[in-house]
């Protein structure tokens, strides 16, 4: 019964539209970040001469490091912007 409960209750529950908008925005941000990483790391790691359809060893290692470094930059810039925002600087 427990796993069915969700659907029975759902009709009587109210949906907090503001929370939903925030959750949707978070989903949007994660998906946007993913798409940007796919694009940047493709440019950095995959040569435009397509000799084979598989990823070779060098490309695979490059992708792993590229994703890691992109996350580092994303975090570092995010921290910077939050500090500025908190300090009341114009953005």
């Amino acid at each position: 019964m427990s796993f069915m409960g969700g659907w029975n209750n759902a009709a009587n529950q109210s949906v907090n539209m503001q929370n939903m908008a925030m959750a949707e925005q978070e989903l949007e941000m994660v998906s946007d970040l993913f798409n940007r990483i796919v694009s940047s790391c493709h440019q950095k790691c995959i040569p435009k001469t397509y000799i084979e359809g598989d990823l070779n060893k060098g490309e695979a290692v490059c992708i792993d490091r590229c994703v890691g470094k992109f996350f580092e930059v994303n975090k570092s810039v995010g921290t910077k912007l939050q500090q500025m925002s908190g300090a009341g600087l114009p953005m």
């Binding site: 998906s31 359809g53 975090k75």
Partner: protein, 99 residues
Amino acid sequence: MDFSQFNDAERNHLQRVMEQKQMKDFLKLYSGLVERCFNDCVNDFTSKTLSSKEASRKTLTLDFLEGCIQKCADKFLKHSERVGQRFAEANAEMMGGAK
């Protein structure tokens, strides 16, 4: 994202939102792949149809081993998949660290 903070109605709502998002992301992957592989592989406009160097004529028979377009598409899908794996790991780590 932490879903435990939401009630069932909200989870149902987000479920539908995520399904729509997945469809949109798939279409974006599709159109991005076409654009990228076209730009990288097709540079000769002296002929009307794709040359064998640009694309294998046997595309419809699943023979994706020849032709720039096919290799480019294959490689891009594998690239996206690998980025997805690393992304999920890094995201999980970030979420863990934020708690």
